[in-house]
């Protein structure tokens, strides 16, 4: 259950609109079903009262929309940022992707977002209503009565292993500030590392072979902001179309992981939107874990202007051969 | 197994004519030396170099030419760059014909013909012009208003001055955008030249082809002169892959340009959404 509700967001946004601080609001809009949320713009209190939502399904990270939004007109846009969204926000600023002056950022607390996929898998087809109460996640179904599930089991993996409840960027904060957490997120990577190379290959082969090359992971990713993606370049031979062979299906994701290495904040949006439920964020997280191991802990987006290990240089940097060994590889 | 519409035939390039700095005309026959297939004026074909790409081009030779097929192609992308670099004797693949055609044997018969083209826009009209010249007695007066940036950019210039100009009751009006040494013809943009020339609307068909901005102003000029939109034709261009209305990308509203077009009357275009 979230500590802040939609009424509080509407009040805050309406006040900022009235004061002329901002002229539009980027937030979550009611979708077709209880668990459906669409990012959207609001310009009036009436609109917000009719359609703005905030709850346990507002996982969508609004940061990337700021690129498009800040190019429109002169006025400021209000954006609500959950702690993990603020890391993407900073990373985009580091890369000069939008004009900070055109944004008014309000940090909001987050208690973790639920996974619709997990709820659907547990509750089955025909969900009519989902409530989050002290008891847990209460799912009303059309044909099988009401079912209750533990809150934590229904959390998205990225939220179960939340890395930070602290906001690293905002103009104003609602609620109490949280702390950077001692997250167990790298345990998920360690599980894959513990596999034999054959098992690991089979694991990723099994996952990535389901990819349909819809590009949702790329298009939602706050680190994927190239104006012309290599996978959108007809001359690259790997244009954003269907998979042509089993080699290529892996290439797409591996290349993408390399491209966002050191810039990925581990927001987990890629896995949230994947229609084939591929745990794509684990690829990126592996890069983060390795980089931390080799060059010391680094969190992309923690501060604006920080230099990622892969674009930084130090005379004490490890040689590539040493790095392989340090990460458990063979010479 | 049934015939596959996406399967091309081999074409041999037997002649390459340099028209302008960025337009070349390629003559194509089958390996047996025959014309690849029969077509009607205004129809298109898919040309390809395997490994480079495949794209739709207007067949610029007239159907009355029974020996070969010609394509006038402007250099503007990956495939066209390749085509411009190839030599005589090169094989390519060709499939078609695609699209509807100008109604040369129905609506056009007995009419005065007014062709208006800009730049490479003459290419799709050349097959119609030569068809009308071939069956000269089926049509009335023929006017051709053609403009380009410079004299060097006039496509088919040689054919125009050696063949078209000499024909009975064929009136060619050339214009270029700016003054140029060695040019004593008209200078100015096509839309204003058309206005200047002035054409009666009676029993006349207009056909426009060229850059969008030229089409827009010329069309307006013709309407101001009293032309009905149903008297004026044009051809549209969209990205195409299949040529048979299945790959889904060349539609304007419910019409597929590769199949229901590329030839449209302006009153028909008014019925379609403005997305071309």
């Amino acid at each position: 259950m979230q500590k802040i509700n939609r009424e509080a967001l509407i009040e805050k946004a309406a006040a900022l609109l009235d004061a002329g601080t901002v002229d539009r609001v980027l937030a979550w809009k009611r979708g077709e079903f209880d668990y459906d949320v669409t990012p959207g713009l609001f310009t009036t209190r009436e609109q917000m009262e009719a359609e703005l939502v905030f709850g346990d399904f507002c996982g969508a990270n609004m940061s990337k929309y700021l690129i498009k939004e800040t190019l429109k007109g002169e006025g400021k846009v209000l954006v609500f940022l959950k702690p993990c969204d603020t890391y993407s926000f900073n990373q985009l600023l580091t890369e000069h992707r939008f004009d900070r002056e055109k944004v008014y950022a309000v940090g909001i607390p987050c208690e973790g977002m639920l996974s619709v996929t997990a709820i659907k898998a547990a509750a089955g087809d025909g969900i009519s209503k989902i409530d989050v109460t002290e008891e847990g996640v209460v799912v009303e179904t059309l044909f099988d009565g009401t079912k209750v599930f533990g809150h934590d089991e229904m959390l998205a993996e990225r939220c179960r292993n939340c890395k930070s409840k602290r906001h690293v960027a905002y103009d104003e904060l609602m609620g109490e500030e949280g702390e950077v957490l001692d997250s167990a997120r790298f345990d998920e990577v360690a599980k894959i590392e513990a596999m034999s190379s054959e098992e690991r290959f089979a694991f990723w082969q099994g996952e990535l072979s389901r990819c349909i090359r819809c590009n949702a992971c790329r298009d939602v990713c706050p680190a994927c902001t190239c104006e012309k993606c290599v996978f959108g370049n007809p001359d690259s031979g790997i244009e954003n179309k269907a998979i042509t062979d089993s080699f290529e299906e892996k290439m797409f994701h591996i290349i993408r992981a390399f491209h966002v290495a050191g810039r990925c904040t581990d927001c987990g949006e890629c896995s949230r939107v994947c229609p084939q439920q591929i745990p794509l964020h684990l690829l990126n997280r592996k890069f983060i874990k390795d980089a931390n191991n080799l060059w010391g802990d680094y969190q992309a987006g923690e501060e604006v202007g920080s230099r990622a290990p892969l674009v930084d240089f130090d005379f004490d940097d490890m040689e590539p051969g040493e790095a392989v060994i340090k990460n458990g590889g063979e010479q | 197994m049934i015939k596959e519409p996406l399967m091309p035939v081999i074409g041999v390039v037997t002649d390459i004519r340099i028209d302008t700095p960025d337009v070349r005309t390629f003559r194509v026959v089958t390996p047996n030396g025959e014309k690849p297939f029969i077509h009607k004026p205004g129809q298109c074909a898919m040309l390809s170099m395997p490994g480079v790409g495949e794209a739709m081009f207007s067949i610029t030779s007239s159907p009355t030419n029974t020996e070969f097929m010609e394509f006038s192609i402007k250099k503007c992308g990956c495939l066209t760059d390749w085509l411009h670099a190839m030599e005589v004797g090169q094989q390519v693949t060709v499939r078609g014909p695609y699209g509807n055609a100008f109604p040369v044997d129905t609506e056009f018969t007995g009419k005065d013909m007014l062709f208006i083209a800009g730049g490479i826009g003459l290419a799709p009209l050349r097959s119609v012009i030569n068809y009308c010249r071939h069956y000269r007695d089926r049509y009335g007066r023929i006017d051709i208003v053609y403009g380009s940036r410079t004299k060097d950019d006039l496509v088919d210039y040689n054919e125009i001055i050696t063949e078209w100009i000499g024909d009975d009751d064929v009136h060619v009006h050339l214009t270029i955008d700016r003054e140029q040494e060695g040019w004593d013809g008209h200078v100015g943009f096509v839309p204003s030249y058309v206005k200047e020339l002035g054409f009666s609307t009676e029993n006349r068909i207009g056909i426009l082809c060229g850059p969008p901005i030229m089409i827009k102003f010329t069309l307006q000029g013709l309407v101001d002169m009293g032309f009905e939109k149903s008297q004026i034709y044009t051809t549209l261009e969209m990205r195409m892959k299949c040529g048979i209305g299945k790959c889904g990308r060349c539609n304007v509203g419910s019409k597929y340009i590769c199949k229901d077009g590329p030839v449209f009357r302006f009153d028909e275009l008014d019925e379609l959404p403005d997305e071309y």
């Binding site: 949702a216 | 197994m1 969209m238 892959k241």
Partner: protein, 342 residues
């Protein structure tokens, strides 16, 4: 109508497999997908497969032909081969209808021989639904999940699978299966049919109507102001088009293997910015135009070219999978709203 014990499905598949390839939905680690049946595979009763049976007729990518290029010469190699006879078992009513939607594109003259080859060798055994999802709205498009089309319609009631032939192809197959099936009365599946009909009425989208759409509505909806808001958050990804059982846009590309050129066809998406990009220009400049194209095509353009048939079947996959939860149901409710009284 013929019947077989549900427990004997393996016997049924094994019998069919003597003469046909068999494809059916099988539960995997992350949801259900169609696969070729092998001994030991269990038929999944999941409502929607992740990927629709479209893949079987119109695969995500397929080789069209090969070229051998040597010097200035080109040789075209026809790589087509006759498909085997095969059965697809367990196709839901919406997905059966989607194959009809695809037929109207691919089999229309000049027919696509790759599709036609597979289609003509296929026998479709459809499966009536038992428990629909909140995302289902097939009724909006006149589809009855209690009476699925296809060559043979199937119903499950308790421990029994009932089968009824809808076509000659279906009758021929049922005849072959007579040794392992039993005769059942024509009304044997009525209880199962009644249950699904009753459940359909309870769905949240049960009242969604397509009446406001169809042929001749281009002018009316093309410039509708709501497209801007509806498409505002669209990521421009291809999820909706790739999970859609009726989306059939494709690209044709060449792949140089180093030993020759393979010309292949692969799915494409009208949501992608390069879909209509030409050297000379781009008619659909922003996501608004691309977004509008997809829905106008399903609700107006396709019906205009196909006797009023819509090219949405209400399977609900896009409702479940869209990253921003924007979908055709919302579009229909928003764009079609003012039309109730005209």
């Amino acid at each position: 109508m013929r019947a077989i014990s549900y427990a004997k499905l393996d016997t049924l598949f094994a019998k069919i497999a003597e003469t046909h390839g068999v494809y059916l939905p099988v539960e995997g680690k992350k949801g259900t997908d169609y696969k070729r049946w092998e001994q030991g595979d269990v038929y999944s009763t999941a409502l929607n497969s992740n990927r629709s049976p479209k893949d079987i007729f119109f695969p995500q990518s397929e080789n069209l032909m090969d070229f051998k290029v040597e010097g200035k010469s080109i040789e075209i190699v026809d790589t087509r081969s006759e498909s085997e006879d095969f059965v697809i078992f367990g196709v839901r009513a919406c997905d059966v209808k989607s194959i009809e939607v695809l037929d109207r594109v691919f089999l229309k003259e000049p027919a696509d021989s790759y599709y036609e080859n597979r289609r003509s060798h296929a026998v479709i055994m459809s499966m009536a639904c038992t428990k629909p999802a909140e995302t289902c709205f097939c009724k909006t498009f006149g589809i009855d999940p209690a009476e699925p089309m296809g060559d043979i319609a199937c119903w499950v009631d308790g421990e029994v699978l009932y089968m009824n032939a809808n076509t000659e192809k279906g009758e021929a197959l049922l005849e072959k299966l007579e040794g392992i099936t039993e005769e059942a009365s024509a009304d044997a599946a009525d209880t199962a049919k009644a249950l699904i009909t009753e459940r359909m009425a309870k769905l949240p989208l049960a009242a969604l109507k397509a009446d406001a759409f169809g042929a001749g509505k281009t002018q009316k909806y093309f410039d509708h102001p709501a497209w801007a808001e509806l498409s505002e958050a669209c990521l421009g990804c291809g999820t909706c088009t790739y999970v859609c059982p009726t989306c059939q846009c494709y690209d044709i590309k060449d792949f140089n293997t180093g030993h020759g050129v393979k010309r292949f066809r692969c799915w494409d998406s009208c949501m992608y910015s390069d879909f209509t990009q030409m050297s000379a220009g781009q008619p659909r400049l922003t996501q608004l135009e691309r977004f509008r194209q997809r829905f106008m095509h399903k609700l107006v353009y396709y019906p205009e070219n196909n006797d009023g048939m819509f090219s949405c079947v209400g399977c609900g996959r896009c409702l479940a999978k869209c990253p921003i939860k924007m979908n055709i149901a919302k579009v229909m409710k928003t764009i079609g709203k003012e039309n109730d009284n005209d």
